[in-house]
Every structure is written in C-alpha cells, then in structure tokens.
C-alpha cells in the first residue's frame, strides 16, 4: 500500500515537472536552445496567478488564463529581445545569454518586490481527500495530473494537426527549407515561445495552489529538473517530456521513500548525466549522426 501511495506522490510531483518540461522541450526542439529562463517564466506565472487571486480576487480558471497570457507575452518578449539577435550565433553564446536572462528575471524580480515568499490562499480549489484501500489521494493531485495530460494532448494536437504546428515542426527540422515554404520563421519561433511559456505559466499557478509557498527563486530547481525530464524523455518530443517528467517524479519519490530524501536532487542529476552519456536521444528519441 505504501508503495502505491509513494507512486501517487511521485506522479503528482512528476506532473509539475512534466508541465514545465513540455514547454522546455518545445523551445529546445525548435531553436536548439536550453532556455534557462523557462523556470523563471514559471515563477513569474506563479506570481501572476497569485496576484490575480489575491489582488484581483479572481477564481482559479481566470487566474490560470491570465497567467498563461502574461507568460506567453513575456516569453515572446524574452525571445525577441535576447535570443533573436543570437539566431546565428554559436550555441554556447546562446546558452550564456539564456543564463543571463534567467539571472536577470530572478534578481530583477527580487529587486522590484523583494525576496520574501508569498503563500497562495489555501482555498483556491477544494481539497478533498479520499481514501481507497488505505491509499489516500488528494483531489488536487488528481487535478494536476489531469491538467498535465490535457495540456499535453492539446499540445500534441496543436503540433501535429494545426498549420502553425506544422510550421513549427518544419522550422525545427530545417529552418531554411521552411523559409522556402513561405513560413515566417521568426513568427513561428515566437509562437513556440508563446505556447511554451504559457504552459510554464499554467504550471506556475498549479504549483502555487498545490505547494502554497512561492518565491522569486522557486523556478530554478524545478526548471533544471524539468530539463532533466525533457532529456530523459528525448528532448524535442512532447510525449517524451510528459513521460520523462512523471518518471523523474516517481524516481524522486522512491528515493525519498527509501529514506534517502536528502539525495533526491543528486539522483536527478545522476540520471541526467547517465542519460546524456549513454542515451543522449532519451527514451523516445531517435539517434542522429553528426555530419562531417
């Protein structure tokens, strides 16, 4: 029973990772950039949600939508200002910029409002606890998992069935060829950032409701973990991010369950390094050969 309970704990933690990883993986898939700032967009989303609920007195759904919208705009802004000028620069330069953007958001945010944490109101969503055969399930964890799955499906539909989704895939595969189709590569990349950041915003609000405490540096670790999840599932692959996130959550829960909770983060990074070395394409990816 305890094991099942732990698996459920892992799945709800993993759902958060998955939500962040979905956006991460999209952005990486299209611009091949580890967008370090993604975790910070998540943080901003969480705060936007917080202020929407406490200051504007809104309920869950409008707060979620506002947060997603703000984050989408924010993501596009980041891309246009910081990443677009580096479209043809080395990947290292882009990575350094991403680190810079991440630090700027974090400390700019602290500069503006201070580093103190905020607490989401406890009553945004009802928390019902139901017990099935001794396993207690929180209605909120069901909700988180549900939202993650729904968003993943929506994302999958957008990417595979819509015109903009096709454009995204085309740009990610071969930007020059995509241009020759008449695709506006810049707009497509912006759209990717918008969608990815909106997902991060959604994750932020859900995180706030589930974990209550939010603070300006809250995005750092979940951001890194989400990246691990994306790599685990095969970077650039949407279902991969989902599975990678859930798997990472379960791994962490099991590590804690075994009494090694202090090693939880280390295990996540060990997983990252092992995957990078032995299976860089991830669980769902295909291997690609470098062209000489």
């Amino acid at each position: 029973m305890e094991l099942i309970q732990q698996l459920i704990n892992g799945v709800s933690l993993g759902s958060i990772y998955a939500l962040i990883a979905l956006g991460y993986t999209m952005v990486y898939g299209i611009v091949k950039l580890i967008n370090f700032a993604h975790g910070d967009v998540f943080m901003v989303g969480s705060f936007v949600g917080f202020y929407s609920i406490t200051v504007l007195d809104l309920s869950f759904v409008p707060a979620l939508l506002i947060s997603m919208t703000v984050c989408a705009l924010f993501g596009v802004l980041i891309e246009r200002i910081a990443y677009k000028p580096l479209r043809n620069a080395t990947r290292i330069a882009a990575l350094i910029t991403a680190i810079g953007v991440s630090l700027l958001i974090e400390y700019g945010f602290i500069y503006v409002r201070g580093a103190q944490p905020e607490a989401y109101p406890n009553d945004v969503l009802p928390t019902d606890k139901f017990d099935i055969f001794g396993v207690s399930i929180n209605s909120q964890s069901v909700l988180i998992f549900g939202v993650a799955v729904v968003l993943m499906i929506i994302l999958q539909i957008i990417v595979h069935k819509t015109k903009i989704g096709k454009a995204m895939r085309a740009v990610s595969f071969d930007a020059d060829a995509a241009k020759l189709m008449g695709i506006n590569v810049n707009n497509t990349i912006s759209a990717t950032f918008a969608i990815g950041s909106a997902l991060a915003g959604a994750a932020g609000v859900i995180f706030g409701i589930y974990y209550i405490k939010i603070e300006p540096l809250m995005g750092v670790l979940p951001g890194l973990k989400a990246f691990v999840a994306a790599v685990l599932g095969g970077i650039g692959i949407i279902p991969g991010a989902m599975v990678g996130g859930l798997l990472l959550g379960v791994i962490e829960a099991l590590v804690s369950a075994a009494g090694y909770s202090l090693w939880r983060d280390a295990v996540a990074f060990v997983v990252l390094i092992l995957i990078l070395i032995f299976m860089p394409q991830g669980l769902f990816g295909k291997n690609k050969k470098e062209k000489v």
């Binding site: 015109k163 096709k166 454009a167 895939r169 085309a170 595969f173 071969d174 020059d176 060829a177 995509a178 241009k179 020759l180 189709m181 008449g182 695709i183 506006n184």
Partner: protein
C-alpha cells in the same frame, strides 16, 4: 521576368558571387552550369531570399526583391527546390505537400493543385501517409518538386535535381521539368550534369568562381568546344 544586376554575395568574408548579372524571360528554362563551388547554389539562394546580396539589384516582374524575406518572395511566386531536396523527413508526404501551400488560403485551389501534383508524380499518391524520410532519393526529389509546386509558383528554382539519382530516374525527372515548364512555369535550373541541362534548357549561363564567364543559347553552348573541354571531360 527576373533580372539580376551586378550582385555581390558574401559568406562571412569570403565572396561567393562577384558581380553577377543575368535575366530570365517568362516561360523559359534557363540553366546555370559550372563546377562545384562555383556559386550556382548561392545564386539560387540569393534569389529566393535565403541569402542577402551585399550589392546589386534583383528585379522580379519589375519589383526589387533583393534582401526581402524568403516568405514574401514565396508569396510573390518564386519557389525554390533546394539542393539535397531538404524534405521534412519527420513528416508524412501529405504534410510536406500541405506545407508547400503554407501561404495559400484557397482551400479548393489547394485541393486542385494537390491533384495536379499527384498526376505529375503518381508515386507520391501511393505513399501519401508515409514518413518522407523513408522515401527513396528519387521519390524525395519528386516530393520536393511537388511541394514547391503547391505554392503555385510562376518561377521555379531547381537546384541539382539529378543529384544522386539513377539515370532512369533522372530522365523521368527531367521529363517532368519540361512538363512543368509547358504549363507556364518559368524555370531556373542549376545542374552539374551539363549535357542533360542543356538538352532541356532554352538558354544557359556558365558560372565559374562566382562569375559568369559564358552565356548563350543551349544549342550554341552544346556545340562549343570550350564547354566540352571544361565540363564534359573532353581534351
């Protein structure tokens, strides 16, 4: 229809095109021939907007398109089938064709053109749902051309359509190029197989290290001893 005046194009600080001028009339097949690295592909990329000329003018139907973004050039009716085909290997044949019509909004027209492409390339119809990465080289070339045609171009830029293809397929492809031309599409063809290119082209330009060194009617050039010596391997 297309008029290029004295353009210079650079990759970093290496000059790839040095003052090239050429013109194409409506309905023609014009070919660029020349050795690898001579600048033929650069020429096409510059016309389709993938590269920007540092100096010089490109006029398409009287409008200057030099330095314009690729998507607006596609919109004006120029499609480019790039070297190496560059099909979206992670997508199905059908999706590739749909992407070709990315800028078009006329659903009926798209459907009609899709049918036309199937007529030209029946093989594509057979493999509609297949991932295009799994197609053979020849089928990929057909897909790349079909995809370009979906944009309803008036000027089609073809880069090395024969590359890596078996002779029989090359023949087929070139036959289709002629067909496309007959329906009123003007064609600018880059080809290393000079003989073949000259056999279907009206006129040709010979490019050498970024310069045009010779131009004229195909028949004249085919007959020219100089061409034979340089490109056909004669002594």
């Amino acid at each position: 229809m297309l008029k290029i005046e004295d353009i210079n194009v650079y990759y970093g600080n290496i000059q790839a095109l040095k003052g090239i001028s050429l013109s194409i009339n409506e309905g023609e097949i014009v070919t660029l021939i020349g050795a690898n690295g001579a600048g033929k592909s650069t020429m096409l990329k510059t016309v389709s907007g993938l590269l920007k000329p540092k100096q010089g003018k490109i006029l398409y139907e009287g409008q200057s398109i030099g330095g314009k973004a690729a998507q607006s050039i596609v919109k004006m009716g120029i499609s480019h089938v790039p070297e190496g085909r560059r099909v979206f290997a992670n997508m199905s044949v059908e999706e590739n064709l749909q992407l070709g019509a990315y800028l078009r909004k006329d659903k009926a027209g798209i459907k009609q053109d899709m049918e036309k492409v199937y007529e030209l390339f029946p093989r594509l119809l057979e493999r509609l749902k297949q991932q295009s990465g799994t197609l053979s080289g020849g089928e990929q070339q057909m897909l790349a051309m079909g995809r370009a045609l979906m944009a309803k171009p008036r000027l089609l830029l073809l880069d090395e359509p024969s590359m890596g293809l078996a002779p029989l397929l090359v023949k087929q492809i070139f036959h289709i190029i002629e067909e496309i031309n007959k329906t009123g599409t003007t064609i600018l063809l880059v080809e290393q197989n000079a003989n073949l290119a000259l056999s279907i082209a009206d006129r040709a330009y010979v490019v050498e290290t970024g310069r045009i060194v010779l131009s004229g009617k195909s028949e004249e050039l085919t007959a020219s001893e100089e061409i034979k010596k340089a490109y056909l391997g004669g002594h």
